[in-house]
Symmetry: C2
Subunit: 220 residues, 2 copies
DNA sequence: AAAAGTATGTTGAATTTTCAACAAAATGGA
DNA sequence: TCCATTTTGTTGAAAATTCAACATACTTTT
């Protein structure tokens, strides 16, 4: 387990907990390691929502398929980030989303019951874990608000520009790389791929942005 | 303060805390009462995010105005429900939303710093409050997922039907009342009002629903 | 290096949304 | 009750999206 400590220390779930205590906690929490290949379904819609997931290496997408099988990309998770924590914390029966690997990697799964209800050993760090979960969920709520700001736009153009502005702001620079190809970006913005391509072309012609594949630059 | 206990006991923030302790905690938390009239701005976008709000009576809408001044209705809050808790818990500078009263009522404001950082008296119930906040934020995350399910639909018809299905499921009956007039429903679904009216008319003609004002019935 | 497969850009037609304007219905006061 | 105001429904035109089909560019494999 030690080889994961560098990543786990950056994980919001373990904020403020040092390696010594982490080493004691992990077995207490019943942490398991799950290796995965590209395109592997790490978590499938309908599965029990018992586990909190932590990406140790690689990355994955949180998606949902609608009635007709259309994919929506809800978010992207990378190393040290949590997934499915809200469903586990809410103690619902089944997760309403799937998590699909972008590339090979590993995830850690923790039975959330061991965090919410004090474990037999009573490690004394449950309070910190619960506080950390609360902080994480608050931060995720902010991210949801950003996503809603995008989805509330009526046109592909406005959705795209709102997304790119947010990315630039996050990158702290007008030049940035996005974690999506065109189809994925369309599924994230909830728009048609071909219309998205057209719109990117227009913005380029109008001198509003430069782009090459997943690299973008917003001009002035 | 005692007259509010009946409502506060139902508030997710105070779950598992009895009246005796509640009475001790409220002053410790620096709780203030804010009366409001219809259309009053209980919380304004850009304000400090210090406070967690609890609706004691009446109701309000959480809204956001976009660049052009178009209103988005994010959610509806009623008695014993929390608002702005995610922003307070995330300890960001300013709230990105506004909260507007639907009707006269009262709200309680609690300085979130008094919950997150142990207070001088160290009431001993902070752990429970933090646990409750975590639970509340997890539940709100589920609500956000539902909203995203609606917004990810491409047509007004699908957005409307997805919304109505969710409402029927929540009401546990095909007959239910929604908390919106037409313009508000349009601003919640992020669609054009006149198009929404037209679509409701079509669904009625097709025998898919019955409706009168804010009362709906989904047929089979 | 060639071939196969994938991703992206482009186009036109059909559908849908938005927008503006107005009519009808409902509401709230005087 | 009547008047003024607000809300809801309806319509047609303009704009935008979706959809399908295909050309081009790029990757990966053999």
């Amino acid at each position: 387990m030690e080889k994961y400590f560098a990543i786990l220390k950056k994980c919001p779930l373990f904020f403020g907990i040092d390696e010594t205590h982490l080493a004691k906690m992990l077995p207490c929490l019943g942490a398991q390691i799950m290796p995965f290949d590209k395109k592997y379904t790490i978590l499938k819609e309908g599965n029990p929502a018992r586990y909190i997931g932590i990406i140790l290496s690689g990355s994955a997408q949180v998606i949902r398929l609608d009635y007709y099988g259309n994919r929506s990309i809800l978010s992207e998770v990378g190393p040290s980030e949590l997934f499915s924590e809200a469903f586990a914390c809410a103690e619902i029966d089944a997760v309403p989303i799937s998590v699909i690997a972008n590339e090979p990697g590993e995830a850690m799964l923790i039975d959330c019951g061991h965090i919410l209800h004090t474990c037999a050993n009573n490690c004394g760090f449950h309070q910190q874990l619960i506080f950390n979960l609360m902080k994480d969920l608050a931060a995720k709520t902010l991210a949801f608000h950003q996503k809603m700001e995008i989805l509330s736009c009526r046109t592909t153009r406005d959705k795209l520009l709102t997304y790119l502005d947010l990315q630039a702001k996050q990158a702290g620079s007008p030049r940035f790389t996005i974690p999506f190809d065109r189809q994925e970006l369309a599924d994230y913005l909830e728009v048609d791929r071909s219309g998205l391509s057209t719109e990117i072309g227009k913005l380029r012609k109008e001198g509003i942005l430069k782009s090459r594949k997943d690299q973008f630059e917003l001009l002035q």
